[in-house]
Amino acid sequence: MQQFLRRHPAVQAWLLLSPGGLFLSVFFIAPLFIVLIYSFLQRGTYGGVVWQFTFENFRRVFDPLYFNTFLRSAYIAILTTFFCLLLGYPLAYFIASRSPRTRSLMLLALMIPFWTNFLIRTYAWLTLLRTNTGLINTALLSLGVIAAPLPLFGNDFAIIVGLVYGWLPVMVLPIYAALDRLDPSLIEAARDLYASSAQVFRRVIWPLSLPGVVAGSMLVFIPALGSFVTPAILGGGKSLMIGNIISNQFLAAHDWPFGSALSMLMMTLMLLGTLYYFRSTLKAEADA
């Protein structure tokens, strides 16, 4: 037996892989295919499905009623990514410009909120943003800064604030890593050639940190597009994203085939984005 295994390393590999591989085949790959099949079936009268092939679900996905939610979700995810970048880049720059000791402490401080429960962090913003009893409106009203409560809650603004807060750390990390790898002698060389600070940034620092910016944007955009908890809590039931429409098909509308079609489309978009990202980074590495 031992002899046999030694002579066939591939068998060893599959023996090691088989427990996890089998588990994921049954409880991940099989469900994935079932959802794919479901997305081509018809809904039954009282929940469940009718085994009849149809493209109807995918046609409905492009119904303006639902497709607009897709576009809104993409718009919210893009704005979230943009604001994460706007806040995250200087923060990453700030951390990267500290001494090594402070730097690792700051990275830790950055990641601690990220490892606390997402639901709790979203709830924290609920108590801050709520229209009549939220902390921000209460404080501004009692200070006399505003006369009527600001519309901070139950809209896209609230969702974007919650998402930016939740995903900011994963934008900062890869940018920090890129800035940390940056060779300081390049900046000095640019300065010696009389480049202004703005020029140094635009011509040297920004292009060299771009891989980090792209990685961070991917890490923010994908979960933001698929978010469910944040719009459920901060959207106040009025402002919805595609994740909520999907969950409604299972919790309320009992239209599983349509819910399956929606999530197939969402997953396809994300996989395409991820593949594009990997291909472009591989190409960039090959070019370098």
């Binding site: 079932i34 090594p100 909120p113 108590t127 994740g243 999530s263």
Partner: protein, 297 residues
């Protein structure tokens, strides 16, 4: 006065500008961290508020914590959370570690496909994975049968489907962390062991496994944290009437904001901090460089 070459090339104004620049950068850094921490701090403060309000301070009380402890539903869902996290972490750690060794140490046909299978659960959003599992448990007839179990004096009824769901997303995370450790591991010790006639098992047991232990522990801690924090997958794979702590908190939020939720949140924050602390200490013990803190953690 010592002047470096770059100081000389910069005029006074430029030097001031760069000083102003570094000052505004510092201000920015402070504001950035305030943004990250202020909401959490305010959340904790109002868990001690002597009023039902979460925005107007009315004096100090620990009454919300008393109410939390006396709420049988909350305590039960806490035990549910811990049970699911412990069982799913144990299974995912073993399966994920084995898979990581196969992926890092061997080349075989179908490796690319296996790579995709291992990364997918990390990439696809919670909600998609949740409804996949929901449909699967319905269609397959596995259903949402509970595992009736006695756990620290509590009678729990934990659906197998929830544990399976947690294992399904945790295998990949464990595999990624363990693989990273394996990739950075010095292989000469293993080769030395084999030169000294240790067989495959002895080499694994006496050399590879001890060296790999920090990675495995890191992976297990990550899995445990993710399992405790998960809301979406638990919510969709539990059938009716089963609550982990996040699922219960979500239900409470739906019914209205009270400082009692702040108290439960504070408890969960304390749990997270404890796990992060354990992770840092175990990293320091294993003597990993400080930069490693930024990743796995």
């Amino acid at each position: 006065m010592s002047t470096t070459p770059s100081d000389r090339t910069l005029g006074m104004g430029a030097r001031l500008r760069s000083r102003l620049g570094s000052l505004s950068l510092s201000v920015y850094g402070v504001l950035g961290f305030l943004f990250l921490y202020l909401p959490i701090v305010i959340l904790v403060i109002f868990s001690f508020n002597d009023s039902r309000s979460t925005s107007q301070w009315a004096g100090f009380t620990t009454d919300w914590y008393r109410q939390m402890i006396e709420d049988r539903q909350i305590i039960l869902s806490l035990w549910n959370s811990l049970f699911v996290a412990i069982i799913s972490t144990a299974i995912a750690t073993v399966l994920g570690t084995l898979a990581a060794m196969a992926m890092e140490r061997y080349s075989f046909r179908g490796k690319m496909a296996m790579d995709a299978v291992l990364y997918l659960p990390i990439i696809i959003p919670d909600i998609a994975m949740a409804i996949m599992l929901l449909i699967f448990f319905n269609v397959s007839g596995i259903g949402f049968q509970p595992w009736e179990v006695q756990f620290f004096g509590n009678r729990l009824a934990v659906p197998y489907s929830v544990i399976i769901g947690h294992v399904a997303f945790n295998i990949s995370f464990v595999a990624v962390v363990v693989r990273a450790r394996l990739a950075n591991m010095d292989r000469t010790l293993e080769e030395a062991a084999q030169d000294l006639y240790a067989n495959t098992w002895q080499t694994f047991r006496r050399v590879t496994l001890p060296m790999l232990m920090p990675g495995i522990l890191g992976g297990a801690l990550l899995a445990f944290t993710l399992s405790l924090d998960d809301f979406v997958i638990t919510f969709f794979t539990s059938g009716a009437g089963f609550n982990t702590l996040p699922v219960r908190v979500f239900g409470m939020i739906r019914r209205g904001v009270t400082p009692k939720i702040n108290a439960v949140s504070t408890l969960m924050l304390a749990g997270s901090f404890l796990l992060i602390l354990i992770s840092i200490i175990s990293r320091m013990r294993s003597g990993e460089d400080e930069d490693a803190i930024q990743f796995g953690l």
